[in-house]
Subunit: 469 residues, 2 copies
């Protein structure tokens, strides 16, 4: 399988990239690509190609790709559609074997000229042995190397182990903005497939499956080029690491919309659901759910069992948490006598101590940070507890730094997943909390039902490698 | 029914309030209550009662409630539990007929002394004709009058038509902080029930049902004191306005947790689900879902039918939106020729125009604000469209002020609900967007599936009054 990864390597860490259609004009896609590469810290050579040879963001540009020096293995094309075939031919003459065609207006436009251009692109690529993404592809992001071909302005993404592929530019625009800001997980690689003339979901699934630094794979698809091959690739991926799939176009009208969006034939919903389950993939229900699942699988070790320890600042969190545990397949084990005794030492005498733990009395006695630490550690030591959720709510008097609490728990029980949930609070406080908690090694969810949905899924899916993601 | 509302009026707009246990020490509950009343702009007389008669936040305090001048109709008790019965007796002698007992440690503690105190409180109230909330009640908020008895620091809430009652202090702490910050809807009144010795969910349901300024009612309950009476009150409420209920403790272990939290007997899940449906209430699945539903029912008029018009900046939004419409009971009507023609004028010739509308081509031509306005108006004029969703994603080049767009749509089609959805983007941008969109008359949701879940529910539930909420 190694060839898949090697073959796609230039799309993520090219030894040199030419941006054909690079522009000195801020706001243009051909400007933003260069700007993003610099802002995200890509260290490889960047060769803006611009017919007038102007300086672009202090980089010299080249009138044609022929003038670009070595090393150069990838060309990104962001030119008017009619200029794509000649540009690709020039890249071929320069010896470039990999291309991202960002320009649209081919099968996605569907007019006669677009179809003609599309046929020419296919022919040029085939004759010259060029592998390409698109047309109409926003391309790739590699958070570690800082390589990025998005045509919308991006900040650097937190590097991590989640790789995502899919059929929407959102993956490299609005959603990356969210990832950079709230950091629900760290990113390894992102691939936006576009029209999928050549490289498609199967290629990237194999590449992510083979990639040692990818711990979990997310996938948004509207249609697949070849159902049988896709399922084989999904099975091969899911045998190596968690694979979470959101499928758009599962309804009849969704399927029509998909045909219009990316020219995909979506196929029957029921068949797709069943097939995904059979190959061991996890189906997400919405973009939000996809990101929640990636947040769990990307940040947390695989739970050894379904035993949930729930520590909550609010009684309602205990009550609702117990309901969700039943709904999503977790259990609330009875605490060991030693655990009850430890927790009892930090609670008033009249407290009845059980799982879930309503910790308000302990907070009144010990302060909020210490109460979470002491109870969290006691729960983490309990052999019946496989995973921990700490639920809190942000108001004056409940603010605290969660990171030492998570660090202490992870030190004594590194094999047990820890998640935090914030109920309510202001948006900016929530954001800061999420970032801190993730850096400390937890996953964070916006609602307790979402946390337990994700952890319940993780506990039920046997981890492919038997190890932490 | 009018007596219900009149009877509870002093809990929301008292003509004078005594805070027994008021404290000069910042951070104490008895200090925060006074601080909140001032910060939230309550204009009625506030009488801090403090044995040492110190000034509290520039207000004179009174050694006992006897010294407090008129008018005075409500006492808030935040004193050690053993001081509750004598304080209540003093309030009774002063002629006060309404009390909020914030102090805990009664049936919620469950020890012998707590139970004895509880019996004394009941007897004093009964002998003196006092109606009270609690013990262990964080009390009430009235966003319009600025009246608030929360023991956690609060900012003023946006006034509006949503009233909420429930068995968790979260409703007046972490969640109010979220409401003040993100403003998912405007608030009329909030009631936190606590131990429910006297006043309970039935009283507040009736009061909110009778209240002309309450347009939608939200309810979080762990148990009900009397199932039959509760269902009658829920039916009476749901006949007048949308009633959304989140029930905690529906699982076996959730029921045990509920008994520990508020001493409630939760009862069978299946029976409760069926009964809620029968009385016309809407069941929420999580706190997040409860707030989403309140955001829809609180901000939007009742849709006249299930015809969804979906306008999306992203093709994935069109595809997923069509899927969710099918799942949640909305239809995507074929657009009228006039609508297609209008939209065609702002799109490139090659665009195929259908519902959902993928508007990216129009944005490239007309700029983002104008594209949303023109397409939004064309969709709003279409007689087959009953409700509109505008989906966008925030990156440089897609930022715009949504408020004139919403205002223009609402002007030509005030009867059609408008919702916006932001996919991705940074937390603070999202917050600002939500606030602006709501002020302009839309509801905003964090995920398209949540928007369509709410609008689908609204379209399927016949509106009690046949009018907008």
């Amino acid at each position: 399988m190694e060839k898949h990864l090697d073959e796609l390597q230039p799309f993520f860490e090219p030894r040199g990239v030419a941006v054909i259609g690079a522009s000195a004009q801020p706001g243009k896609g051909g400007h933003i690509i260069v700007q993003n590469l610099l802002r995200c810290g890509f260290r490889g050579p960047i060769y803006p190609v611009n017919p007038r040879g102007v300086k672009i963001l202090d980089l010299p540009s080249y009138p044609t790709i022929d003038e670009c020096p070595d090393p150069l293995d990838l060309a990104v094309l962001i030119v008017p559609r009619e200029a794509v075939p000649p540009s690709l031919e020039q890249a071929a003459r320069r010896g470039v074997k990999y291309a991202i065609i960002a320009s649209g207006g081919f099968t996605d436009a569907g007019d006669a000229f677009g179809l003609e251009l599309d046929a020419r692109v296919r022919r040029i690529a085939a004759e010259n042995g060029i592998r390409y993404m698109g047309p109409n592809s926003i391309g790739t992001i590699d958070a570690g190397s800082g390589f990025i071909t998005s045509i919308t302005a991006n900040d650097p993404l937190p590097p991590g182990n989640v790789s995502i592929l899919g059929q929407t530019g959102l993956l490299a625009s609005g959603l990356t903005r969210m990832i950079a800001d709230r950091q629900p997980f760290g990113v390894r690689r992102i691939a936006c497939l576009g029209n999928k003339n050549d490289l498609n979901e199967i290629d990237f699934l194999h590449a992510f499956a083979d990639d040692d630094r990818t711990g979990a794979v997310g996938c948004y698809l509207e249609g697949v080029k070849n159902g049988r091959d896709f399922l084989a690739a999904a099975r091969a991926t899911a045998q190596k690491k968690p694979l979470i799939v959101l499928k758009g176009g599962i309804s009849e009208s969704g399927s029509v919309a998909a045909a219009s969006h990316t020219g995909s034939l979506a196929g029957s919903a029921a068949v797709f659901h069943g097939a995904l389950r059979q190959v061991g993939a996890i189906e997400a229900e919405s973009l939000e759910d996809l990101f929640d699942l990636l947040s769990g699988f990307g940040n947390l070790p695989q739970p050894k069992g379904p035993g949930l320890g729930l520590v909550s600042i609010t009684g309602a969190g205990c009550v609702l948490g117990a309901d969700y545990a039943e709904r999503f397949g977790l259990r609330l084990p009875t605490l060991q006598p030693a655990t009850i005794e430890s927790i009892g030492r930090v609670c008033p005498d009249w407290s009845s101590i059980r799982n879930p733990v309503d910790m308000w009395p302990a907070i009144e006695r010990n302060g909020v940070a210490e109460a979470y630490r002491l109870i969290g550690l006691a729960m983490a030591r309990d052999p019946g507890i496989d995973l921990l959720i700490l639920t809190t709510t942000l108001f004056d008097g409940s603010f605290f730094d969660i990171t030492p609490v998570i660090a202490a728990i992870r030190e004594i029980a590194p094999e047990k997943p820890v998640a935090t949930v914030l109920i309510g609070g202001a948006a900016e406080e929530n954001r800061a909390w999420t970032v801190n908690a993730r850096r400390a090694g937890a996953a964070t969810f916006a609602d307790l039902s979402r946390a337990i949905r994700v952890l319940g899924t993780m506990a039920q899916i046997p981890h492919p490698s038997g190890e932490s993601a």
